[in-house]
Each structure stands twice: as C-alpha cells, then as structure tokens.
Amino acid sequence: MDGLQQFFDAYQTTIGFIGLNAMLALSVWLTLYTGQLTLGNAAFAGIAAYGSALLTMKAGYPFPLALACGALLAAAVSLPLGATVFRLRGVYLAIATLAFGEVVRVAILAIPITGRGQGLVGIPPKTELWHIFASLLVIAYVCARLRISTVGRAWAAIREDELAAASQGIPVRRYKLAAFVLGALIAGWAGGLGAHFDFAIQPDEFGFARAVQILVFAVVGGIPNVFGPILGALLFTALPAVLQPLQEYRDIFQGVILVLVIVYLPRGLATLLELRRTARLRTVGAEDVA
C-alpha cells in the first residue's frame, strides 16, 4: 500500500498528463472523425491556458470560473476561425490551422502581460487529479454517445464524401464547424486544467510540436471510436517514463514503436480487436481520416 502511494506521488504528474493529453486527443478526434485534419488545438489549449491562468493570478477569479472562461474564450476564437478556414480541405486546412497556431504563439510573445518569451510563472496549482479524470470521463462519454447519434452519423458521412453528405440534407459547414468548436472547447478546458497543474506555462508548449504530438495520440490510438485517442495518449505519455532506463536509446525505441503501430495497425490501436473489419475497410479504400 505504501509502495503504491509512493508510486502515485512520484508519477502523479505523468498520470495527470495522461488525462490532460487524452482530453486533447479527444478534442482533435472530433474533427478527425469528421474527416478534417486540423492542427489548431494546441493553440486553443494555449489560449485557454493563458486566459484562465491570468484570470486566477491577476483577476482573482475562482478556479472553476476561470477554467470555464478560458475554455469559452478558446471556443469563441475557434468560431470565426472555423467559419473562414473550413473553406479549405485536407493539408490546406491543416496548414491554415497550423499557421493560426503560429500566429497565436507569436502574439503571446508580443503581449507583455503573458510574460512574453519568459513565460507565465506562479500559476496557483489548483488542479487535482480527480478534476482531470472526472473531466475526461464526461468528455469521453459525450463523444462516445454523440458518435452513435444522428450527429455522429452526419460527421461520418461528411468524412466519407462531403458532397454526397450535402445531398442528403446535411449542412456540411455547420457540422464541421460544430466539431471544430466543440474540439476547441475541450482543448481549452484541458489547457486551463494543465496550466493550473504545474505552476508555469510558456508559448513553446503550445506550438507546432505540441500540435503534432496531439495528432499522434489520436491517430496512433485510432479514430474509429473514442477509446483510440485515450489509448494513444496513455501509451505515448507513459512511454517516455517507462523507457527512461534506455537512456539515449529511448527516442529510437519510441520511434520504432510509433512506426510499428502505424504500419501494423494503420487505423490505430483501437482497431486491435477488429482486425477483420479494418481489413475490409482497407480493401474498399474507405477514408478513415483526412
């Protein structure tokens, strides 16, 4: 029991980050499930992280209110952004959202109240593990149920063929936008929790590398259902800690694992239990993600 407690204390950050990353992975899952590759969720997390941290630090907001405000701020930014960028598709969309992310990063660097290049330090550590995992549970449940509702079916149809989906009466833009804004809201919530989890944030944490990392969680985990992104976040957050004894060979193993999973389970870890179905989807050349 004591050993467990010790383990828990020691790895409490890692455990927390698994939950935070799982939320971020789910946030990008929403758009991926719709067939849209967006890379803006790191920036949304950043906006909310800075927003909520400034509210608790400088304006003395209570923690839950600050979190909500941060997430809403991210969602509010995502709405006009989505309305403009969803004219684009595929890589173009990905790069447009990426460019937006860079603009956010550079903007944070230019605004004095954010601490600019030095980052924001001294955020009150209000986030507890149960906050993170309760949030994850709620978010995962909502995503899972949405997936099998009319909304989820419409998203899947858009992924398979936007034009045909529109012909079935689905307002494609609105649905894509909804997925995007919901994703931003989730990413924002996770960003706010993350900012209050470890005292300090800095612009680089929300840049390109982070955006790609979130994408890796979701894709390696698998898009077909909501367990995929959670699994992916679990694996790739825990892996660095697990592989610590390998020292300088750790990156190599991590790379090898990444390639192996993608090559042998191209639709993600979550498809491990449905290899037959995956093989059939493969032969028909179905879209799975953008």
Binding site: V142, L146, T150, V151, A157, A165, L281, G285, A286, E287
Partner: protein, 251 residues
C-alpha cells in the same frame, strides 16, 4: 408545376455547358433527359440540386424560388438525387448509408443520445431495412458500401435517395452498368415510385428504359434543348436521331 427552370445557364470557361434551358415538370411525372455525351445533362441537374451555381436564369421548386439554395437546403425541401459517378459513403455499411439518407426525415437525437442505454435510432433502422429489401439489397445490409459490385452500388444510391422520402427524385444514369434484364427491373421500380406520387427526373442512355418509363422526354445537345415531347414523338424526331440515337439504331 413542381419544378420549373427558366433561362438556366452555366458556363465553364468558354464552354456554355447549359444554355438558356426552360423546363417545366409536373408533379408525379417521370421526366426523361437525354442527349449525347457532354450535352450538359449532368450539369443541368447539378444546377437543380444546388451543386453548381447558375450563371443565369432561375429555378423554382414547389412554388418557391430556389435558385441560390445549397444542396442541403434543397434536400430538406424534398429534392434527392443519385450521382453519375457513384458517390456512396464507402466506409459506412449499406444500412448506415440509408440511415444517413434519412437525415432530413429524422429528428436530431444529439441530446437524447446522451441518456445512457438508449437506442434512439431503432425505428429508423427498421425503415432502412425495408427500403433495402425493396431494392434487393436486404441481405447486404452489413456490408460496406464500397464492397458492393458496381450495379449494386447504383441500387444503394437509389435506396439512399429514397430514404429521404423526396418529392423530386433525380437519377443520373441509374442503369449504367446494368444489363437489359436488370434495367427492366429498374423500370418496374420507377413505375411503382411514380405511382406513389414521386416526381422523377431520369437521365439515361438506355433508350429502352427512357422510352418505357417516361411520360415526357427532353433532349439536350451542346447545352441547348433541341426537342421535348412524349417518347414516341422524340424517337421519331429526325434531329434527335441525327444527334443522339444514330441513324441505324437498334438498341
């Protein structure tokens, strides 16, 4: 008239693909649209279904101007269509394809679905199965759409369009890839649908199907309407024989 177009025009660069087309299609009619390859048939229905924006002219559907509406808005008003180059949701099952087709008829259950253990879609699935039986795909409900043979994919497209219970059904070469026996079965189905009161616009190169199923036929050539009338009249029209049927037709 359920559907009316007046002076409908669409240009691609220098090509006038659809040139000042006037059509009037009455409720319950089966209306044929024929013409050589590249005559502008598909372009015309793309305009009607909102997939293309007209450069000129107007479209009226059910007594309302719908010229500038988007495909999804038109679908909600009761226009359903199939595609010449099949556009199914390949990675969804046959049943799911039909369920998506029911989108405009089903209420959003996004909130209801949050209630645990509730299966909001069950009645919808029953309807979808019936529809699949009707087009002869009852046994393939669980297959992915992309796994179907070409002709079966066409049937599924029709089932998906019907799922929306449309007032106007537009079919773009539904019999392509079907042999004469299969297209005869399709003809029967079109007659049944017409009897149920659905208005149908049919584009086909299968002359036997067009002549057998349609009450009225329009002929396009180079974007212009060169003839319109009952099938027998059209078949006898020398301009049509010259442009479309070929002089020694025997199909």
């Amino acid at each position: 008239m359920l559907l009316e177009t007046s002076g409908l025009t669409k240009r691609f660069g220098g090509v006038v693909a659809v040139n000042a087309i006037d059509l009037a299609i009455a409720e319950g009619q089966v209306f044929g649209l024929i013409g050589p390859n590249g005559a502008g048939k598909t372009t015309l229905i793309n305009l009607i279904s909102g997939h293309l924006r007209a450069d000129g002219g107007a479209i009226r559907f059910a007594d309302a101007d719908v010229t500038r509406l988007r495909p999804d808005q038109l679908a909600r008003r009761g226009i359903a269509r199939t595609f010449q180059s099949i556009r199914l949701f390949k990675g969804l099952t046959v049943l799911e394809n039909v369920l998506v087709g029911r989108y405009v008829r089903s209420r959003s259950d996004a909130l209801a679905s949050l209630v645990p253990f509730r299966d909001a879609a069950r009645p919808e699935r029953e309807r979808a199965r019936l529809l699949l039986e009707r087009v002869g795909l009852g046994k393939r409900a669980g297959a992915f759409a992309g796994e179907l043979a070409y002709g079966d994919q066409r049937r599924l497209e029709i089932a998906r369009a019907l799922a929306a219970e449309p007032r106007l059904l537009i079919l773009d070469e539904p019999a392509a890839g079907m042999n004469p026996t299969e297209s005869a079965a399709l003809r029967e189905m079109l007659r049944e649908l017409a009897a149920e009161g659905i208005t149908i616009v049919l584009i086909e190169h299968d002359v036997r199907l067009v002549m057998g199923a349609c009450e009225r036929v329009a002929v396009l050539n180079f974007g212009r309407k060169i003839a319109e009338g009952p099938p027998a009249e059209i078949q006898a029209d020398p301009a049509v024989r010259e442009a479309y049927l070929g002089v020694a037709d025997d199909a």
